[in-house]
């Protein structure tokens, strides 16, 4: 069991140590979660529906604080971190949501440009990257379309483009290929892999076992009933840290 041994810090991008999460007075949905994510690595998070994948991801992208335990991100303790410092950390994280969460009254272009605008990038500087991203996801001719007029797959692509446009240090994706055809799924995975090669740490939650086999050196985390198992043994002792 992975939760038996203590977490090893040592330059990890993300450190969870003895983390538990409960909503209200109910039993913990996540229990004794301990792992480290190394910079530049690629992780798949798997598990049955209701195992707690989304809850774990919510803590990763700072939408939820743990009920107990220690969470460190980019070397800083997030549990005790004051609220006003969170936006700066969130700008270093890209998130692909299962339900896309596009802003309905904004065009595809404006949805993709959102992280850059929030970060204060000028319109002049963001128009190029946004245009390139639109072309890359195959929506160059639908840049002004509202989400409601896009198909599920197109919305998914816009959501992914929005997550990666600001070149995040950590990319968290919750079922990112659930609504796209296999060809687009491979293209999106290729994008994640390319970002990973550029140094972005990627965490992808998925049910798709075929997807996992496509990425070399990817490590797998498996959640079972709120507890983390580590079939490859790579989480606690990733290859670079093994002695």
């Amino acid at each position: 069991m992975t939760d038996a041994a203590p977490a090893r810090p040592g330059g990890a991008m993300v450190e969870f140590d003895g983390v538990g999460l409960r909503y209200g007075p109910d039993a913990e949905v996540l229990c004794d979660i301990s792992f480290n994510l190394q910079p530049g690595s690629f992780y798949f998070l798997t598990g049955a529906s209701g195992a707690g994948k989304t809850s774990l991801l919510k803590m990763l992208y700072l939408a939820q604080r743990p009920s107990r335990g220690i969470v460190r991100l980019f070397g800083e303790d997030l549990v005790a971190m004051p609220r006003h410092r969170l936006p700066g950390f969130r700008r270093r994280i890209g998130v692909v949501f299962q339900d896309f969460r596009l802003i309905p009254h904004l065009s595809a272009r404006d949805n993709i440009a959102l992280p850059l605008r929030i970060a204060g990038v000028s319109e002049e500087d963001l128009s190029g990257p946004v245009g390139e991203m639109l072309s890359w996801i195959g929506l160059g001719d639908r840049a002004e379309a509202r989400p409601a007029t896009l198909s599920g797959g197109e919305q998914q692509r816009v959501a992914i483009a929005r997550a990666v446009i600001a070149r995040p240090q950590l990319l968290v994706a919750d079922e990112p290929t659930g609504n796209v055809d296999p060809e687009m799924a491979m293209r999106l995975l290729g994008l994640f892999e390319a970002l990973n090669r550029l140094g972005t740490t990627v965490v992808v939650a998925t049910h798709d076992i075929h997807l996992i086999s496509r990425i070399e050196n990817a490590q797998m985390m498996r959640l079972e009933r709120g507890r983390l198992s580590d079939p490859t043994g790579a989480l606690r002792y990733p290859p670079a840290n093994r002695t």
Partner: protein, 301 residues
């Protein structure tokens, strides 16, 4: 800044249609009532002050000696003697024609040739204004003077009979001021409800903005700007309607030339207050919206 500056591209984060639906109209009605209440309050306060100033140091000596010649002599002697006193600012005999003209309004005879009116034994009146704020000393000295120059004459301080009227007017002015405060609070409550409704309506957008790194300040400025503009529309509309009503009342009031009505006016200070109120209202709305939004956002991680 009352209406924060937000880049055009950021403004699009909120839908184009107005956030608040009926808010501008409710604010317009409240603003109109606030301005009318404020105008009434200022007018009444100035009227009460004018009456107070006029009556505070004035007395009328009523000489009721039966013989008209003696009565007139006593009035003249009293006026002269009073005018020579250091505590008297002015002393004036009220002419019999002035008294008859005043009474003629009640008798239905304005020409002054009514034989009944002419046959009435009218008292001789002397109006005396005191110097300074001290009333007790001059009153004692005046009583001595009256006893010497016009024995049996009655001294009537104006404050005795106009004082309650002035107090009533002052009370009405305070009530009007209270209404202004209550309507300001009601306006603030409307803004709070609008801000909360806006947050509820756009919760998904706000949550998304938070998750991609938007600060509370960035989000607050968006909503604060929109709410301030909405309320500014309402305040402008309410102010225009109130101004039209006040101008109409002022025009009609200008035809009233008698009695207490002439003491009611807004004055430069009053107009300045009425002009400042809409700006204060916009500032209050923006500040209320900002505090409401910040407090609500703090509850979201």
């Amino acid at each position: 800044m009352i209406i924060p500056r937000v880049p055009v591209q950021h403004r699009r984060l909120l839908p184009d249609h107005r956030l608040s639906g009926p808010t501008p109209w409710v604010i317009a009605i409240l603003m109109m009532l606030t301005l009318l209440a404020a105008a009434a309050g200022v007018g009444l306060a100035r009227s009460a002050n004018a009456i107070g100033d006029a009556i505070a140091g004035r007395v009328t000596v009523q000489i009721v000696t039966a013989n008209p010649v003696t009565r007139a002599q006593q009035a003249a002697a009293l006026r002269r003697a009073a005018a020579a006193q250091p505590f008297v600012l002015s002393a004036r005999s009220v002419e019999p024609e002035e008294l008859q003209a005043t009474l003629g309004q009640w008798f239905g005879s304005t020409e002054g040739d009514d034989p009944v009116l002419k046959s009435l034994p009218l008292p001789a009146l002397v109006d005396i204004d005191f110097v300074g704020e001290d009333r007790a000393g001059p009153m004692r000295a005046l009583r001595t003077l009256v006893a010497r120059e016009a024995p049996g004459a009655r001294i009537i301080p104006h404050a005795e009979w106009l004082g309650p009227v002035a107090r009533l007017i002052r009370s009405l002015a305070w009530i009007a001021g209270g209404m202004v405060v209550l309507m300001a609070l009601a306006s603030a409550a409307v803004v709070i409800m609008t801000a909360r409704a806006a947050l509820g309506t756009h919760y998904a957008t706000i949550e998304m903005l938070h998750l991609i790194g938007a600060t509370d300040r960035q989000i607050t400025r968006l909503f604060q700007r929109r709410i301030a503009i909405d309320t500014a529309y309402g305040i402008l509309l309410g102010s225009l309607v109130a101004a039209a009503i006040l101008l109409l009342i002022g025009w009609q009031w200008s035809g009233v030339t008698s009695g207490l009505a002439t003491t009611a006016s807004l004055g430069p200070g009053g107009w300045a207050l009425l002009l400042a109120l809409p700006l204060l209202a916009i500032a209050l709305a923006a500040l209320t919206a900002r505090q409401t939004l910040l407090a609500a956002l703090k509850k979201i991680l």
